[in-house]
Symmetry: D2
Subunit: 330 residues, 4 copies
């Protein structure tokens, strides 16, 4: 039996909690959150106790912690969990500062504890099937990757102000997709963007529309396009052009109803947002984490992946700000 | 050079005329129509002369006639063209009366003239590709055929009154599709229907919605569903289930635009009606007719096919009227 | 807390058990099965006890029974559960004999116990969304329903022999779909079929391919086509033509990967079979059953629906055997 | 009657000749080509004469010339046709050198002759329908444009050497699409690329894979991705994200056959290459040109459009070579 402490009882914490109680041999023991009311509700629902983080980390019966608290707490909690010898599942990003993230990665490596980052997209059934078919050689050697990643609407400007900017907050997932799908590293990155939906976003120093171009060591090309606001919902597509063909990952729809009327022939919009679209992915990443803890093996999304995605986000931010291509020394 | 006389300068006559003047080695010499004005317009556009049918048939320079006049004239014109030794292209149906149609087929056979029926659907690129893939064995042995055949709207009741009823007027094409796709013959047919869109159709003794079931000699099954009124346009689909898979023929769209909005994700409705949908098929059937005349070979849609489709339409009408399955002795 | 006894620990019993333990306020107390080993495994997994059916029915703490045993036991168990005053969830069919099914329905009605039939398709997200949009008037008045219902492969002939035949075993779901979607009743039914995949099925007195035509009280038309063997998997589609358009329910795919190669552009086959395709539907029907028990209201799939679907299956069987249209007096 | 001289009897010259003889009131009078045999064949087919360009330009009966000869002759022929006062239809590009192209544009402007560039994609039914719906406001203000433009295979390296490079030879169409769809001008452009399919292309100083990012005056963003080699055929898609939704232009398929087998569910690959895909567009651009000549109005693809697209191609080439973003002063 693995006892788990969940840090953070917000939206994503609840999802992880609901998934982890379904894992055989896993018990949700503690919930911690600065919002005590939220912690109590989540604990009550799952037969867990609300405790301070210190107590959870001090309990030798706790084998793993799940960090789903606000971004500015991630690095500190990772370091404390490492010190306490706990296995760690941590939401992205490791930290908004690359140096701090690298410090965490070093600590994790030195302590040799299991630490998995919540890049849930790698566990999406469509994305994972595409990756497996790519690896199996179905379209030969990959040459080009086009990623479309658009949110249905922007979060409040108050959130954006502490988000680290669109590249660290939103595209970090796409940078991870890039590294995972192409199994390659960037040698240069170029980003530009605009604020087109809401002037308040520009006033906060951020943008809502961004495009990125990446060249890889092997000369492959990647384009990413992003917007905070797609009127038709959450748009999560990518396509890989290979020497023998193309693999595309399309959006998921709530139903397969097709309506033909005097106007047109229509289908459902994509699943509304990440909670709907990545429901299966969230369940599968948690299952993977505990499967590794129980049966051994390596986690598929390491803290090094977290650092690498953050490094790309930082370089993209610099490229956008200074309007130049950033060469990445690796 | 093959000189051609076109009988009928209406909608379908115009289409055939426009296609035949594009054939190399073919000249549109005469147009005949009881509507002299229509005949003159079509002749003027194509450098042809307006003459009486007698004159056209008597001209030894005329090698082929194209019959696109009203249904009640088809049989008479076929017999006269046979007597004059002309090659014949005739719009469906041969006649509304099966006995009369058989008489024509006998005359054509005895005189050994080329006579092609205008079952243009066999020349539709999608339908023909499906047929070729079926024959190539892509889905093994065919077992079941489902035909969906719906018009965007009913013609005037005045037309319906002399149309021979929905089975002879509309489903005759579907009966031909059935025979062609399955390469098999019916042993029993069962039809029923309703008048759901316009009571005036019922008052004229006809129906606007019909469903038909056919069993074949080899035990295969076919279902046809038809309506005079599909709000979304002309719906012309069919699917064949075989022992190793399924082949479906889908509708054609005017454009490949996809619109994603806050409401849904939509595409174009199907091509509006037969003139749009079967534009390529009309061109290709005329090309085929003249190719046979020039280069020899057999026409792909014979007068015997016309008789066979009419026999099914007559049996379906009887089945609907008497509410019983009709066994077909063959 | 509602304590539940599950009768039947086979494939479908396991699915229902897994779903019901997720319902808040519901406890799986007993499992009964003639296969004691299967019962023990399922009980062990869910912290339930293996007992005889008598004991389960005699326990006043048991509020509901879930009947997932073999078809020939359904009627007897329904009657015993009614006598014991338990709420009932029963897999289709009520019984293979219409008279016996009606007897059960009478008993349920007299005792006024909740009895829900397992027509899970009504709870499929795609089908339910289509129904709601139809009811909302999106395509006007429904006129025609086309149902395609094909299995990926036939069950063993030994199973088929006691299955009641294709109409009672397989099409009973489609007959329920027909009644539910059109909200109308049949006035006549006509069925025919063939054995095309395996002669052993014919030798057992059954067929593997069937087509059915139904006319309703309001003159609407329904066609159903079925096969025991579709090489591409489980094919579960239907479409409703209405006065203002068409609604279609398409198949569900495991992923949204599209592959473009030198051969073609391809997508996944449909979900393989009912366990995959109707996974969400099974979960949602169980949630509905317990929601009714806890919060009141009427179940959406009553034993009368079970009787009505069975009556259609019996009429279809007769139509097929006697090769004639059956008029239904109602 | 407008008499036309066609300069160039190659692949594209033949297509234009076949389309222009179908225009009412238009006569193909002369064909000129350095390949006299090709000129004779095309002339013979269309009842035209083979003459030297000088003779064609000197004939006052000639109202229009169609320039479909090799790229290095375009500018010279435009200037001579302008001097002769002929209306001009010219294949893209105006010239490989921007200065020379501007010189031609100045001459055209000064002489006030009609000069249309062969950007046929603007006449593609799908692209044009998308543009009209965008202008009609269906998705609000455009914010982002993603263009995918891939050929089925690279031309011979001998051709590539004199092609001006991938940006002038291939992407020039995409630069025109960008300007036309967004109705906006570039303020900066950034391009990079690789040679991934054939080292001989790299040796010739060119690349086969390229990605471009453009920022517009209004802050809109455009990404273009291109490859000389897509194993699945000619890939010509683009999508516009707007404030209220998205419009996508998809590929065209030869047929609408769908095959479901034990492997997958597949459809046709896209139309193989530009001759197939843009068949309708080629016909419609020629019809437009002569419609303007007969009925007046402005041509939709001017020589200024040709210059503007070339300017973008030149800037993209520079960006790729110098690995930096090019600011465009306008």
């Amino acid at each position: 039996m693995i006892n788990v402490a969940v840090f953070g009882a917000g939206r994503i914490g609840k999802i992880h909690a609901a998934n982890l109680v379904l894992q055989p041999g896993v018990k949700l023991k503690y919930i911690s959150d600065v919002n005590v009311q939220a912690a109590r509700e989540l604990a009550g629902k799952n037969g867990a106790q609300v405790v301070d983080i210190d107590i959870a980390l001090a309990d030798p019966a706790v084998g793993a912690v799940l960090i789903a608290s606000s971004t500015d707490t991630h690095a500190d909690l990772i370091l404390r969990a490492v010190a306490a010898g706990k296995a760690i599942f941590c939401e992205k990003p490791v930290d908004l500062a690359l140096a701090r993230a690298k410090e965490c990665a070093l600590a994790v490596g030195a302590a040799n504890v299991t630490c998995m980052m919540g890049f849930q997209r790698r566990f999406d059934p469509t994305f994972e099937a595409l990756k497996m078919r790519l690896v199996a050689g179905e379209i030969g050697e990959p040459e080009m990757l086009i990623v479309t990643s658009r949110d249905p609407g922007a979060p409040p400007v108050s959130y954006l102000k502490s988000s680290g900017g669109i590249f660290k907050d939103m595209l970090i997932h796409d940078f991870d997709i890039f590294r995972w799908i192409l199994d390659d590293e960037a040698v240069s990155i170029s980003a530009t963007g605009s604020c087109l939906s809401d002037p308040a976003i520009a006033e906060s120093g951020d943008i809502d529309s961004a495009v990125v171009t990446i060249r890889t060591r092997r000369g492959r090309l990647c384009q990413i396009n992003t917007s905070r606001r797609a009127a038709y919902g959450y748009d999560q597509r990518f396509e890989v052009l290979g020497s023998k063909g193309m693999l595309q990952a399309g959006n998921h729809k709530p139903t397969e109803v097709v309506a033909s009327t005097a106007q047109n022939v229509s289908q459902d919009k994509p699943e509304h947002f990440f909670l709907e679209r990545y429901r299966a992915a969230y369940a599968r990443e948690i299952a993977h984490f505990f499967d590794v803890l129980v049966n051994g093996g390596a986690v598929r999304t390491t803290i090094d992946d977290g650092v690498a995605a953050l490094a790309l986000a930082e370089a993209a931010t610099l490229s956008w700000r200074e309007n130049r291509t950033i060469e990445l020394s690796q």
